[in-house]
């Protein structure tokens, strides 16, 4: 039962705040929302530590759909994989809820905010704990919904509303692929139960398996903002910053990664898909990192950074380094949430200003925020001993080992290159935001305690989180997952020493480059390359004008020309033809009785004649 409670508490918070939030004192709303997730975290912590968790713990609930041969039994499943995730979701979620109390203190719509946020946590937990792919899909879509609602939280602003809609629609495109994959899986394997899928994975024909996994991966690219469906995530920054931290950095966007890990029996058997996953991941990582170089909006820098980091995770999934991917997922949740919260703190202090050209010099007034940001930045850049270093290093190491000199080496090189770019852009962001001279006339004030202690907690995790997978700490998390995925570590071919030194070196190099290039908040004009990057490698115009614009145009043409002229025209044409026929037949009606009489006679003669000649 505790498993159900993990989800039930946030749900309760959702209902409470959603239905009665308007009647509660503003402060209480936040407390209720945070408490719901806090309880959930405590139960999760307890559930994870129970001794029987060595075996997957299944809680069947009820038969959801039963039609024909197709049966879906809804239930919850706790195993090593979902354990990791529920702790991240509820833990980071709790911190961000607490942060939100301060952040949203002024907003009259706080009840709505907290109810959405609680609904998100519940949905995410359902996604994580669902023991059937279809239940997972429910969570999958519900988190998308919450994302939509929260991106468009300030719906009076057209940009926010449009961004929310874009997120939903782009996700929906991916979900269409997911849906097809699921249907193909249900038809071939006969079940969507995650446990049984694992048992039957071996019996699925390889072509079908490839098709299933590729289709599911389309869904993952949508949810996790990978190429080609990444476009919604930067726009999603229109939402409140804690939302960006929780949903669009730490948890929801990692759902794609989690889904692949969840279905590893399928994905590890589909060679081609793995290659595609790895390639898309590496390409996205590099692609997004380069775009982050030219963004002026601090949150958008972080958004592209998230896309890039998710690319790393997919790279890990593709090279069968799932433990490393999950590890990076965890550390990324810590440090990216920290970065976002720090950015939120900046926004809070600057009354919503987030354009880095109009910031600067904030290091002195926002000392705490600056240190938090720097910790997050170092973790992101992959500087030891911060958490990001260990996880990223592990992914690159595994990719290198997996490549073994083959084509995958290219992906590894992309990863290393991305690492360099990452260090550069985050250095640029840090300098632009915090280094003097300032470009504004505001007297910023540091955040209230409810905002800074979650940041402190995340900062601690960003520093120490690496211990979960550090060689020296015995890799508690990675080791456990290694068993779970049934992988044997590449112990034999241990990573050469130069490899272990390469990544920190690259990170430091990047920081140095960034420092020298942007010191004193210099604004560098990258010329054509800059335009190229600002236009997202020309993908943005492609999407907006060529695809979206033409799709809309097709709709218009169908609605005006085809619908009204052709189809309805044909219908009205039939009506008109009847009218015309009547008009011409009308002339037969001369009004002369004698004509009619003659006609009657002619008819009679014809009838008799026919009777005679029959």
């Amino acid at each position: 039962m505790p498993l159900v409670l993990i989800i039930a508490f946030p749900l309760l918070g959702w209902l409470l705040n959603g239905l009665l939030g308007g009647y509660l004192p503003r402060r209480m709303v936040g407390v209720v929302g945070s408490a719901a997730v806090g309880f959930s975290f405590l139960i999760a912590l307890n559930a994870v530590q129970q001794p029987e968790r060595a075996e997957p713990w299944v809680v069947p609930l009820y038969t959801w759909i039963a039609a024909g041969d197709f049966v879906v039994r809804a239930g919850l499943l706790l195993d090593r994989l979902s354990s990791t995730m529920i702790l991240v979701v509820t833990g980071v979620g709790f911190l961000i809820h607490v942060y939100s109390i301060g952040y949203m203190a002024e907003d009259p719509a706080a009840p709505r905010y907290f109810s959405y946020l609680n609904l998100f946590v519940a949905s995410m937990l359902l996604l994580v704990l669902g023991d059937s792919l279809l239940v997972l899909f429910v969570g999958w879509e519900l988190v998308g919904l919450c994302s939509y609602l929260l991106i468009g939280f300030w719906f009076e602003r057209d940009r926010a509303a449009s961004a929310g809609r874009k997120a939903f629609v782009v996700n929906r495109i991916g979900d269409a692929g997911f849906l097809l994959g699921m249907i193909l899986l249900a038809v071939t394997a006969g079940t969507l139960d995650i446990g049984r899928i694992g048992e039957r994975a071996a019996s699925i024909a390889p072509p079908a398996l490839t098709a299933i996994t590729l289709l599911l991966f389309i869904g993952a690219t949508g949810k996790s903002a990978q190429l080609p469906l990444y476009t919604w995530l930067p726009d999603a920054m229109e939402g409140p910053t804690p939302v960006s931290a929780l949903i669009h950095a730490a948890t929801m966007v990692t759902a794609g990664v989690y889904m692949i890990a969840r279905l590893h029996p399928l994905f590890m058997r589909a060679e081609l898909t793995q290659m595609v996953v790895a390639a898309v991941g590496a390409a996205t990582a590099f692609f997004a990192a380069t775009i982050a170089l030219v963004q002026w909006d601090l949150k958008r820098v972080l958004a592209y950074s998230t896309i890039s980091q998710l690319g790393y995770m997919f790279l890990a999934m593709g090279v069968a380094a799932m433990p490393a991917g999950m590890f990076h997922l965890t550390t990324h949740a810590f440090f990216k949430a920290l970065l976002f919260l720090a950015a939120g703190s900046v926004m809070h202090a600057m009354h919503g200003a987030i354009d880095m050209r109009r910031l600067g010099g904030l290091g002195r007034p926002l000392r705490f925020t600056m240190w938090s940001f720097l910790i997050g930045a170092l973790a992101l850049a992959g500087v030891p001993p911060f958490a990001g270093f260990f996880s990223k290093d592990l992914i690159l190491e595994q990719a290198f080992l997996r490549a073994d000199g083959g084509a995958v080496l290219l992906l590894w090189m992309a990863g290393v290159l991305t690492s360099l770019v990452t260090a550069v852009y985050i250095t640029r962001a840090a300098i632009m935001t915090f280094a003097p001279p300032s470009a504004h006339h505001v007297a910023p004030h540091e955040a209230p305690p409810s905002m800074w202690w979650p940041m402190a907690a995340l900062a601690v995790l960003s520093i120490g989180g690496g211990a979960l997978g550090a060689q020296s700490a015995g890799r508690p998390m990675v080791q456990g997952l290694q068993e779970f995925f049934g992988l044997t570590a590449h112990e034999g071919a241990a990573a050469p020493l130069w490899l272990a030194l390469l990544t920190p070196a690259v990170a430091l190099l990047g920081i140095a480059v960034g420092y020298f290039a942007y010191r004193g908040r210099r604004q560098i004009n990258l010329g054509r390359v800059g335009t190229f990057l600002e236009l997202e490698w020309y993908l943005e115009p492609l999407y907006d004008r060529v695809i979206a614009g033409n799709a809309k145009r097709v709709g218009r043409v169908l609605a005006t020309t085809v619908e009204l002229r052709v189809i309805d025209g044909a219908v009205n044409g039939i009506g008109l033809a009847a009218v015309r026929a009547g008009a011409s037949l009308r002339r037969l009606q001369t009004g002369y009785v004698r004509n009619y009489a003659a006609a009657i006679l002619a008819g009679t003669v014809l009838l008799i004649g026919w009777w005679l000649l029959r």
């Binding site: 009308r586 002339r587 009606q589 001369t590 009004g591 002369y592 009785v593 004698r594 006679l601």
Partner: protein, 101 residues
Amino acid sequence: MSVPIPYYLALSALLFTMGVVGVLVRRNALVIFMSIELMLNSVNLTFVAFARQFGTVEGQVTVFFVMVIAAVEVVVGLSIIIAIFRTRDTMDIDDVDLLRG
């Protein structure tokens, strides 16, 4: 019966055809009406002839009813003609063409 029944029938048909010609050719409403009476009578002749041939009474009974109906028809028809003449001052049925489509 020294005159065979078909003779009566042929005569009846000829009378009927004359009536038809009258309806088609004449324009005077009264004459057309009389032509219709002619046709009715020719049919009556047929009925009586068949009654004789088969030795049944139904033919003659039918003629009785035809006469009744003819009487009514004449009464109503003539009053219609009078009404038309009053309003349109014509006997020419070609002038009565309000139902032209």
